[in-house]
Symmetry: C2
Subunit: 169 residues, 2 copies
């Protein structure tokens, strides 16, 4: 279940939030809670999030929305290229945890409020936990970027587009 990317310049990794309670990992190098996530494989899309959650935690889930985009440059392991990470909100379909011991030391469901409060985490995890708390209080429409599929006129292919919700035309 633990893997190296076969091919990447801009890596698209995906982390996930699970509604109400959150599946997290306690990493050896950090001693910090963070969301499960990892790199897309070639041709993979946002479904990466669902696969990575299952591989790292054993939890099955489905995609709900995009929450945030993270960009970092000159990251170790990114082969000198910049790193683009999509942070998604997922709905859990199962709850029992069977985690990848090569990737993390602990894995558990945490209340979002606890994750937003703890100092045993990274600045970005903390920020996303606050974003989730805000969504819980104000409705997910305040934080979600829904996914829509639109046609590419010249090729007959389709795009996935994420942006703030619009009122119906």
């Amino acid at each position: 279940a633990c893997r190296l990317p076969g091919y990447a310049s801009h890596q698209v990794g995906v982390a996930e939030e699970l509604t109400n309670v959150i599946s997290d990992c306690w990493f050896q190098t950090l001693n910090a809670w963070k969301f499960p996530g990892g790199l897309s494989e070639l041709g993979e899309n946002i479904a990466t999030a669902v696969r990575e959650v299952q591989e790292e935690t054993g939890v099955c889930s489905e995609f709900l929305s995009l929450l945030s985009v993270r960009q970092q440059h000159d990251q170790p392991g990114a082969f000198g290229a910049s790193d683009l990470y999509l942070i998604c909100r997922l709905r859990p379909l199962t709850y029992s945890i069977d985690f990848c011991t090569e990737e993390c030391l602990r894995c558990d469901w945490l209340p979002i409020a606890e994750l937003a409060r703890t100092e045993e985490t990274t600045p970005i995890t903390s920020r996303v936990a606050r974003l989730l708390l805000y969504g819980l209080e104000r409705g997910w429409g305040a934080v979600d970027l829904p996914m829509e599929t639109l046609p590419a006129v010249h090729s007959g292919r389709f795009y996935q587009l994420y942006h703030r919700g619009l009122p119906l035309a």
Copy 2:
């Protein structure tokens, strides 16, 4: 000014909206208005948008916010990898147009309402024009994903993070 990417798996192209009026191109293959944009070079970040607008249109601008993320798979020219495109909102600093004739046949400032209405465009351009109209009517806070810089705890490096605005902590 016209270029092929030297290295790419996930391409990060960037298109832009310019507040109130929009700089657009009429492409030979499409006969359609679309936003200027192109591929990031290695190590480049969101500043790609500013560079590409200047190369394609001659207009100088500065970054304001991220508006949308587009993902497409198996795109021609993407070397078999999926394609990730960040759509940004920019503020123009200059207005006179000097466009790249290898990349487009026409280039002009269009009122956003006209771009949202015309059929001589692509579905995604049309959609982003509607998103901009909504931002003009309701305030940019309704559509913007502001950029913030957060520290990476383990490396001393920094991330750029984009998500819906949060109330002050």
